[in-house]
Symmetry: none
Subunit: 574 residues, 2 copies
């Protein structure tokens, strides 16, 4: 952070505002369509409960959160006269909202603080600015969320709810500006020290971040179909919050078996205790609910990280069976409906990441839900949930809670944001004005999908034999234990289809949780050779003979989840 401040100061001194500005534009421009949505949303009347979901959208990259501090200090730092490095510039990009408005009065933090309820007017600070958001709060999609910051800084919240990181939102906020916050040296929230992001693990250079804080990244899709078991360090990472630091000695998993604690239904397991239980392994692909969102967003903007087709990986997971643990604790199939998981990763209000699954899935030995401590025969890495992550095979990634610290058997689903107001599907005509998250089912088992991993879009593909074929390779997967039974490829818009060879585990249907890799050889006609351009389509069929929809238009949804239309890749034939 000091470095950051220094560089920022340097930026100002050397009149490199342009850089700064350019970065800012780039940052917000990344989610071009989001802007419209957000503006639209922010002007929407009435704050319905479902609007709270709005607060869910991690944008990516560094948070705007802490930068008011930096900003505040920039006069001091100015004197250091240092120019920003590229890395610093990127950091600066997140510090843009730093303008001191001399025509406005200055307030101390303790003057802001009493303005924490509508009666006293609701003030918040952001960076150097003091804002009266009383009128705005009523229409704020996050409703109560913004009130959590009343009388204080909203920066830490925006660090989490990164959908605010757009120029538009910040300009909107500026409209409520009433003053400047008096500069004051405060304790550093440096990454190196107190920042929640200061202890993020090292990541593989090939992981391409969709956002850095929280860290969300996928491997290059061209690598994905190379190995049946995705290498751990290339396995996509989807974090919702900072990565917690957990020492194996201190780790404890609290289990509340429901029934109000009667009959000794609570227990705590240590890491050693979990490892002492019978070890069970399962091959399971984990897929993000937003995998392939970047294709859906081409139809119309959606909110969410712009995932390619690489937000999926396949691994052998090992650990203790959840069904054993629950049965040992006397949990009966009919005494509750859900199992809630909580992670050690906390939001700014110290609420953990949470999710739930149906109890029937948890208790079913064929459901293969495990408290995993190994991934491809290695201990879990921190990014993947060290020391314990629950693996819920066949179920959307979001329910495979990492850094698992608590399990609760309950009658209701998790009340977490991610269970209630995110990871749900909607009709294409549902927009942010009409959405009601309470009326939609939380995603559990995922629908059938597939993707072409090679060749990649725009690549030049050689016809590889005398008969004029090209080789196409990719993955296919369906949730709920449904095996892939066929993958069809076409390069003439469906006039002719070619069935791919499958590479998959010999596991019974209904319990087939791993992905299938596939290879197809497609004939290239003389006409296609001459034209030079070919579009390849892939579609998979699962064991319930569910198929992928042809295109994204009719499955579009405002969160950009469940993007499982045909994968279409245009290549050049050489």
């Amino acid at each position: 952070m000091r470095l950051l401040r220094r560089s920022w100061a340097g930026l100002l001194y050397q009149r490199r505002h342009q850089h700064h500005r350019r970065f800012l534009v780039t940052t917000s421009g990344r989610s071009n369509g989001d802007r419209e949505e957000q503006q639209h949303k922010w002007s929407s009347p009435g704050s319905r409960p479902e609007q709270m979901l709005y607060a869910a959208f991690w944008a990516g990259g560094l948070t705007l959160g802490f930068h008011w501090l930096t900003n505040r200090h920039h006069h001091v730092l100015l004197e250091e006269q240092k120019g920003p490095t590229e890395e610093e510039q990127e950091a600066l990009a997140r510090l843009w909202h730093v303008t001191l408005r001399k025509e406005l009065p200055t307030y101390r933090a303790d003057q802001v603080e009493p303005h924490n309820c509508p009666e006293n007017r609701i003030w918040v600070t952001y960076g150097l600015g003091v804002y009266d958001v009383t009128d705005f709060a009523e229409n704020h999609p996050g409703g109560d969320k913004i009130l959590m910051a009343a009388g204080s800084a909203i920066d830490p919240f925006w660090a989490i709810y990164q959908q605010h990181n757009t120029l538009e939102v910040l300009e909107l906020l500026e409209g409520f500006r009433i003053g400047n916050l008096e500069g004051e040296l405060v304790t550093s929230v440096d990454d190196e020290l107190g920042s929640p992001w200061s202890q993020e693990p090292q990541r593989h250079a090939l992981l391409k971040p969709a956002s850095k804080r929280p860290f969300n990244a996928e491997p290059p899709i061209g690598l994905l179909a190379e190995q049946f078991y995705t290498p751990n360090e290339l396995f996509y990472v989807r974090n919702h919050l900072p990565v917690p630091v957990i020492s194996p000695e201190d780790y404890e998993l609290e289990i509340d078996g429901g029934g109000g604690g009667v009959g000794g239904k609570e227990q705590t397991l240590t890491l050693e205790g979990i490892k002492a239980l019978p070890k069970h392994s399962v091959t399971a692909a984990i897929m993000c609910g937003g995998n392939r969102r970047s294709e859906m967003t081409k139809v119309k903007a959606v909110k969410g990280l712009s995932w390619g087709a690489g937000a999926v990986g396949n691994a052998k997971w090992s650990g203790a069976r959840l069904c054993d643990v629950l049965k040992q604790q006397g949990v009966q199939p009919d005494e509750a409906k859900h199992v809630i998981f909580e992670g050690a990763d906390l939001d700014p209000t110290s609420h953990p990441y949470g999710a739930s699954i149906p109890l029937s899935k948890a208790l079913d030995p064929r459901g293969d839900v495990i408290l995993a401590y190994e991934m491809n025969d290695e201990p879990l890495s921190r990014d993947h949930g060290y020391p314990i992550r629950v693996i819920v095979p066949g179920t959307v990634g979001a329910r495979n809670v990492k850094w698992l610290t608590r399990i609760v058997v309950a009658d209701q689903e998790s009340d977490s944001h991610w269970q209630q107001n995110d990871y749900k599907g909607f009709s294409p005509s549902t927009d942010w004005d009409t959405v009601d998250f309470g009326k939609s089912e939380a995603i559990q088992a995922m629908p059938v999908t597939s993707a072409i991993c090679t060749p990649q879009p725009g690549s030049r593909v050689k016809v590889d034999d005398d008969e004029g074929h090209i080789t196409v390779r990719g993955y296919a997967w369906s949730g709920g234990g449904r095996k892939i039974v066929r993958v069809d490829l076409t390069n003439d818009e469906g006039l002719s289809w070619h069935v791919a060879e499958l590479e998959q585990e010999d596991i019974p249907d209904g319990r087939h949780y791993g992905w299938s890799l596939w290879t197809a050889r497609l004939p290239i006609s003389e006409a296609q050779r001459k034209a030079g351009d070919v579009e390849i389509w892939a579609k998979a069929v699962d064991s319930a003979y569910n198929v992928q929809p042809e295109k994204f238009e009719h499955i579009w949804n405002l969160r950009g989840v469940l993007a499982n239309a045909y994968h279409k890749v245009k290549v050049k034939i050489v």
Copy 2:
């Protein structure tokens, strides 16, 4: 109708014709073509929810309300000095409206037939009467429904809509009487003794046969979404072979628990023995693998019965759990992979109909597989498998073996034709020259689907309120216990979608085997009103967020199974 008349004559003159007569009445067949015509006419311009109530009086069997009719004929029969038996009374009840009114002209059926639209006046026949109901039809609560019978007999409909069976209704109808229907003797359609088809059961006149031998028939789709539980007599029938005759006393179910007969793993259950086991009920829709084939075949010809969207029904099934029976016999989950079922229906080489399901499904208490002896709280009818049929909820109809005589736990699937060389899906490019049934998976759980039941294709639909809406109603279902979570409707080719209201059981996902009925109200634009033509599309989403494919082209397969593309219905707006 001709049959009806003949039997009526028989009733008057020869008491012993009662049996025959009754049979003929129930099968009173018009030709296929006529029925298609009838179905076509059975449009529903503006079928409102309240109209659905109208159909809600299904009771099954005849009602006592007919007695006054019986009385009427009593006099006739009295002359023979033979009062009608109870059975005869029942038959009479179906023939109730038989008064010849000599003061009125007589019409032949082919003279009635052209009067099938308001322009030509709407005539219907009932018993011996010919009625001009043009003026009445407008005010008829069933509106569109009465038009289904235009130009022909309303008798079969009133057999369903038994609220007509009152003196008041019949007197009302008599007020529209314009003539008598000319009687005509026709030859019996009975098979000779000895024919395998000679003992086929009676079927409801509204079941529209796709083939008669074996009997395969579906109800008019317009009736299908009227009731959550499909009336037994209207439930589609899919027979592969002649219906066997089984006396309850002689019935035996042979169970081979596998393991080569070691350890006493064979047993035989009588009907009483099965009924003595704990009784379990499950609501399950059964759907033919070829449901909606007639739509797929429009893309390109397929082999198979030309089913409409009515090869599905929803019922409450009751019987003994298969898992109880198998566990009682010591069958272990890992000792075999499949459970084979055989029926009492035999092919010409005396091989029984057969099918198999995964053992895991059979052993799973949540799989709800039962040896059913009741359908909607009545004993199974012969067409539906009397005395015992296995119900495999969520699984294609073909595995729900009727007239069940044998169960075998085995390592291999059933070697029957229907398991090995039928009921499998293929790529659209697979033809009869290249098909290899051995390489495709037998259909088990079915994919998500839906259909619009009203309005019907080509019907004239009234905009039913000031805001300009039409009401659309239908069913949706998915296999494997997956609940329907949403049904989307569009009438502008997907530019805007409207979410339907669902009517479904409150059963946990994963065990949700019943269908969902749905109702949507679609806005009709001014432009659409003027144009007059609207195409409505329906698509459903199941709890794994699987969706229907948009069109049939890319799911086409040579057997025409799994026809679950969007259901598209063109109607005229009036």
